[in-house]
């Protein structure tokens, strides 16, 4: 089992601490997220059932599947974002480096500081570019060297050169693609270990999409990335492993439940999938 870390206290783990054993070892490809028998319910409705998968460190994992298959729902359990939906309920376990994220003692705020998220629609704060990036570190208690933190995050998101002369202007004044990279900068400013990306390019044009995909390749050796995408080509281009979800229709109650069909290396998923449903989906025969 991976060394467990304490998510229940308001302490930050400094990932930049060079030479530390375990999680900061660049060759380490240990399991970061271990999902076992995960089911998510909205009220009585079971949205996803029996998901089992392991997400490895410094890899990009893609979740693909048709609309309504629960891939976003599963993603949002990785940083307790589903807590914001009153009726959402989780069964099973998601272990983040050995700690069950849904253990009652776990503080979701600490989880979200370590597991950043980028949303489908770019959602910068209605604040300056600088304050957008500085917000996360600031509420985490960082006081000194904020300029460096902001610059590093903006460089990390490939946005620094475009905005360095106008850090004080509103984040909303940027183009859609720039806004999304600002959101990525904001997410990595708190120095998270993992990044969850929920269809980050669905509102962007192809050029902006290509920039984000390049960026993902550049930062994958620093962050464990999980991306939900509607776009199979995108999954094939950027990810190391792919999970394919689909929906099962229950004829009795006329409800749809998402299931994980197959989870494997992306190359294998797209060239030689073991499940017929995966093959049908990736070859464009349905979905």
């Amino acid at each position: 089992m991976a060394p467990s870390i304490d998510l229940t206290e308001a302490t930050r783990v400094d990932h930049a601490d060079a030479g530390a054993p375990g999680p900061t070892d660049p060759t380490d490809s240990s399991v970061v997220f271990d999902v076992s028998d995960l089911s998510v319910y909205y009220g009585d409705f079971r949205a996803v059932r029996d998901v089992n998968l392991e997400v490895r460190r410094r890899e990009i994992t893609a979740f693909i599947g048709p609309s309504g298959c629960g891939k976003t729902t599963v993603l949002r359990t990785f940083n307790r974002m589903n807590d914001l939906i009153d009726t959402a309920r989780v069964e099973g376990a998601i272990r983040y480096r050995g700690v069950d994220l849904y253990d009652p003692a776990v503080n979701p705020v600490e989880v979200r500081r370590r597991i950043g998220m980028v949303f489908q629609k770019p959602n910068p704060f209605p604040k300056s570019i600088y304050d957008n990036v500085a917000y996360g570190p600031r509420i985490a208690g960082v006081k000194k060297g904020m300029d460096d933190v902001v610059e590093r995050a903006l460089r990390g998101a490939g946005l620094w050169d475009e905005v360095k002369s106008r850090l004080k202007s509103s984040g909303l004044s940027l183009s859609g693609g720039q806004q999304q990279r600002l959101c990525i900068a904001r997410a990595i400013a708190t120095d998270p270990e993992a990044l969850l990306m929920d269809e980050p390019c669905s509102a962007l044009d192809p050029i902006a999409t290509a920039r984000i995909e390049d960026l993902m390749q550049e930062i994958k050796d620093q962050y464990t990335i999980i991306i939900v995408t509607h776009n199979m080509q995108q999954a094939a281009r950027v990810s190391d492993r792919t999970a394919f979800f689909t929906t099962e229709v229950n004829d009795e109650s006329d409800t749809r439940t998402g299931v994980l069909v197959e989870y494997d290396l992306t190359d294998k998923m797209f060239s030689n999938p073991s499940d017929e449903r995966t093959e049908n989906y990736v070859t464009g025969r349905f979905g």
């Binding site: 974002m81 979200r112 209605p126 996360g136 509420i139 997410a187």
Partner: protein, 315 residues
């Protein structure tokens, strides 16, 4: 088979097609109806303002300073509004100081913390109902609680008939309006903004304090403007909590100690003077209405300026 047609200029034919088509009569009619509706509202408002200002013009131009600083007298041409302005000022102050924070607090709790369910729904529904309760009912509430039950605190000398009682009564009267509009403003905050805050590890309080409230501030302030205008204009509750209708010698002091004394306020003065059958009171009544309108407009302007500042911030 061939169809023989006369040779036509294709461009001319296309032009005929594109410039023809049927006239959108219903659409134009509808626009006209809307314009008439707006025009009528403006005409009514214009007549009202004109009527008020022209009837009160003798007083407003002849002895404005005297009128604003003088006290209530038995003679119309000697009467002034000092006590009324002071009472209305404190009623506005009580509304802002009590109804605003309590109302916004209740709204935030209802929207952000209360678990949706039957109880929350029931409370929500009742707040909506309360905003529709006639103001005279709140007057009776004020009479029972602030004048009679708490009279020894609100006004030991004036039997509870003080500006404190009036202020609290009107603050309670507008509380539902503040709660409803603030709750709506909080509800209108985009989900993406909240998620962005939570996503970088903000606590619920930090999300509310740093993102929800600044975004909702313009809407909340709009609600406060409506509430304040209502509180400043109500006469019925004042009558019940015992605002003086004449021959009041005190009630123009802005000192804290004077809050427990007998009082009056502009709507009460207007209602009283308007009821006097002598023609000489007409001028001062309309002048008093003009002054009340000006005060309400001033209060609104302040809130609107504040709202515009917040609106600029979120753009």
């Amino acid at each position: 088979m061939t169809v023989v047609t006369a040779p036509v200029d294709p461009a001319a034919e296309m032009e005929a097609q594109l410039t023809g088509g049927k006239l959108d009569l219903t659409g134009r009619l509808f626009t006209l109806v809307l314009q008439i509706s707006l025009g009528l509202s403006l005409v009514v408002l214009g007549i009202l303002v004109w009527d008020v200002v022209s009837t009160g013009s003798d007083v407003l131009t002849g002895r404005l300073g005297d009128f604003l600083t003088g006290t209530m007298k038995s003679q119309a041409d000697a009467s002034g509004l000092a006590q009324g302005i002071r009472g209305t000022f404190f009623i506005g102050l009580f509304t802002v100081v009590f109804a605003f924070p309590i109302g916004v607090g209740a709204a935030i709790y209802l929207e952000e913390y209360a678990k949706p369910g039957r109880l929350t729904h029931f409370i929500d529904l009742n707040i909506r109902n309360l905003s529709g309760v006639p103001s005279v009912v709140y007057g009776i509430l004020g009479l029972t609680i602030f004048v009679k039950a708490l009279g020894s605190i609100t006004g030991p000398e004036s039997n509870g008939r003080s500006v404190i009682s009036a202020g609290f009564t009107l603050a309670i009267l507008v509380l539902p309006i503040v709660i409803i509009t603030a709750a709506e403003a909080v509800r209108a905050v985009p989900r993406g903004l909240r998620e962005a805050g939570f996503g970088v590890g903000a606590t619920r309080w930090e999300v509310i304090r740093h993102h929800v409230l600044p975004y909702a501030a313009p809407g909340i302030l709009t609600g406060t403007v409506l509430a304040l205008a209502r509180a400043l204009g109500e006469a019925a509750p004042l009558i019940l909590v015992g605002a003086a209708s004449g021959f009041l010698t005190t009630g123009d002091s802005y000192e804290v100690g004077a809050l427990q004394d007998r009082f009056t306020a502009l709507p009460q003065i207007i209602a009283t003077w308007a009821g006097r059958p002598v023609a000489e009171w007409e001028g001062v009544t309309y002048a008093a209405i003009a002054v009340l309108l000006a005060i309400v407009l001033l209060a609104n302007a302040a809130a609107i300026l504040l709202r515009n500042r917040y609106e600029k911030k979120r753009a």
